[in-house]
């Protein structure tokens, strides 16, 4: 049982948080790259943003025990909200234009 208990301690401590954040970040990144659907890309971005916020909060707690990290995480939430609103509006517009959700078709800037 001690092995399990120490595993539980590790998971709920700083390193557990960091491991979860890293997992979220990589999963989000994979979603961003591999998803065809533009909304899927957006979901991946949200995951990555959450991972970042999580890191800010947990490092702030263990390093300084001050609320500055939480403030930055709060700003990340705000910005993510704004980004989601604008991105979804763009996606709707894009869908109306191309009748498709494939992000790879948004390539007018290529030439």
């Amino acid at each position: 049982m001690s092995g399990l208990a120490s595993g539980l301690d590790w998971l709920t401590g700083l390193h557990g948080y960091l491991a979860v954040a890293a997992s979220l970040f990589v999963l989000g990144a994979v979603a961003v790259i591999s998803r065809k659907n533009a909304i899927g890309v957006l979901l991946g971005v949200e995951l990555m943003l959450n991972a970042a916020g999580l890191n800010f909060v947990i490092f702030s707690k263990y390093r300084t025990a001050a609320i500055d990290g939480q403030i930055v995480a709060l700003f990340i939430i705000f910005i993510a909200a704004a980004e989601a609103a604008v991105a979804l509006a763009i996606i709707l517009r894009f869908y109306r234009l191309k009748h498709s959700m494939d992000a790879s078709e948004a390539n007018l800037l290529r030439d």
Partner: protein
Amino acid sequence: MAQQALWIPLLPLMAFVIQVFFGKKLPRQGDFVSVLAIFGSFLLAAPIFFRLVTTGDVSDSLSYTWMSLPVGFKGSGTGHPPVNFEIVIGVLVNNLTAIMLFMVTLCSFLIHLFSTGYMHGEPRYHLFFAYISLFSAAMLGLVISDNLLTFFICWELMGLCSYLLIGFYYDRPSAINASLKAFMTTRVGDVLFFLGITGLFYVFKTSNFTQVYQLVHNEALHELMIIGFPALTFIAFMVMLGTVGKSAQFPLHVWLPDAMEGPTPVSALIHAATMVAAGVFLLIRMYPVLEAGHMLPVVGYVGAITAFLAAMLAIVQNDIKKVLAYSTISQLGYMVMGVGVGAFAAAFLHLVTHACFKACLFLCSGSVIHAVHTQDMREMGGLRSKMPITFLAMFVSTLAISGVPFFSGFVSKDRILAGALGYGMEHSQHMLIPILGFAAAGITAFYMFRLIYMTFFGHARDEHKHHHAHEQPAPMVIPLIILASLSLAIWFAGPTGIESVDQILPVHWYDDAMESVQKSMGIVEEHSEVHHTAHSLAMVFSLVIAGLGIGLSTLMYLKAVFNPATWQKMFMPLYTVLVNLYYFDYLYMKILIQKGLLNFNSMLAAFDDRVVDRIFVDGWGRATLVVRSVVGKFDDIVVDRLMVDGTGYGTATAGWLVRRFQTGQAQQYLALMLIALGLFTLKFVL
């Protein structure tokens, strides 16, 4: 007053501009614009003149800096204030100017008035008035100029106007030739005159008359040399040559008789008020320089020879205007001679009196020509009864020019001859001058009366033309009357010695005016005993000689005691020479121009062709070609290919490389970003 004087030439100038642009559209083709403009000038000039007559002296001036040329620095090196060579132009009103302004505006106005009748119905009527307005403006501008620069500008303007007016009937080849001849001949004088002005600037650093008068007595200036001659002599000679060209003096007199191709009012304008008077006026203005340059005897000889030779020529002419033309040359010779012998005031007086009676003579001849439609005196005769006013005016003028007492010509000519005689008695080596002068006086009387007798007396030689002749309308006759009345002596006569007469006459005004002029110019007129003797002698001589001339003329052409044809045979060689105008035209045309100038021209053309064109221009071209190809290769290979194209290719290649990554796929960018992040973590892994 100078401000007022400035407007005198400006008014006709404005009339010229209006006439050129709008003349055709105005009622009566705008002749009233020119006439009113010159009348306005006359009204402006009259107060100045009357102020001179009443107060005896007028003087005023106005000056503007025309341009200021930096020519150096005070001291050496920079930082010093620049030294400017200022060209100042302005208006000078003195007694000479006042008299000239009055005379020129009056004559011009009367000629303008006459032209409205004479030119009536002619083509290019408005242009004629534009030209004579410009002509008057130029002459008036010349008169008020206080420096030789604007003087020369107006001088050249008059040359242009004479060219335009002599060639006014440009559909006649003879008119074109005459205008070209006038222009080219005066151009010879003008170029030399301009050299003189350049020399004047070199010596005096100014061309302002007043300053020149003051500086001319500076001994240091007499030391200066121009191309091996004393500078002042050079200037004086060149100025004299300017006059020779403009006033048709020997040997550049050939253009003036041909100038008769122009309309008769133009002849009157050229001969009386403007063009030829300008030359004499120049001599009078530049008198101190001529004196300082020891050029006066030369001037005297030129004048005397011209007076005599031209008078001789006038005898054999049958064209009424040609006679008058030669008489003008002769009279101008008198004036030039007067200046040359130092009878400065007399010469200027003759300029004024001559302007009046010569204008009258020309206008009368115009009136006659207008009536009979010919210029040949052999087709006239007996016109006295048909044209009484014209006859009377012309007769009065003829008396004046012949030097008959109580007419203006007597007063002025007598003074010139007196001056010449005095000069000859003082310097006996120059006795030829008065001899030629007196001879010319006699001949003048002879040919002028010949003209009168052939035109107005005797029987009508051409019945048809005589029948249609009639007196001219008022605008043409009134000027004749005014000008004829000005030919009377009373306007110009000095004191007669009879007290009751002297009280009425405007005596002294001229002598008073001239005295202050001579003082301002620094001229001292000698009143030696010789001159008094000469004066009395000259009066007797001139009376006798004029009487002889008139008498001979009367016997030959009125009473037919002598037959002119017999005399012609008797003096056949002389007659041939005279009819051929001393072969001057032949000399100039055949020898000077065709043999000399044209050969010289072709030589210059050959030089231009072989040396300048082939060697310099073409050679330079070839040299440039070689340099061009070398520079072109360098430009092509190094600059264009290596640098310009190289930069382009480099940029294009770099762009091509970068473009591989720019697919426009947001997800690809993110993938690249992740790879970069992975590489970033290597720092911790390793």
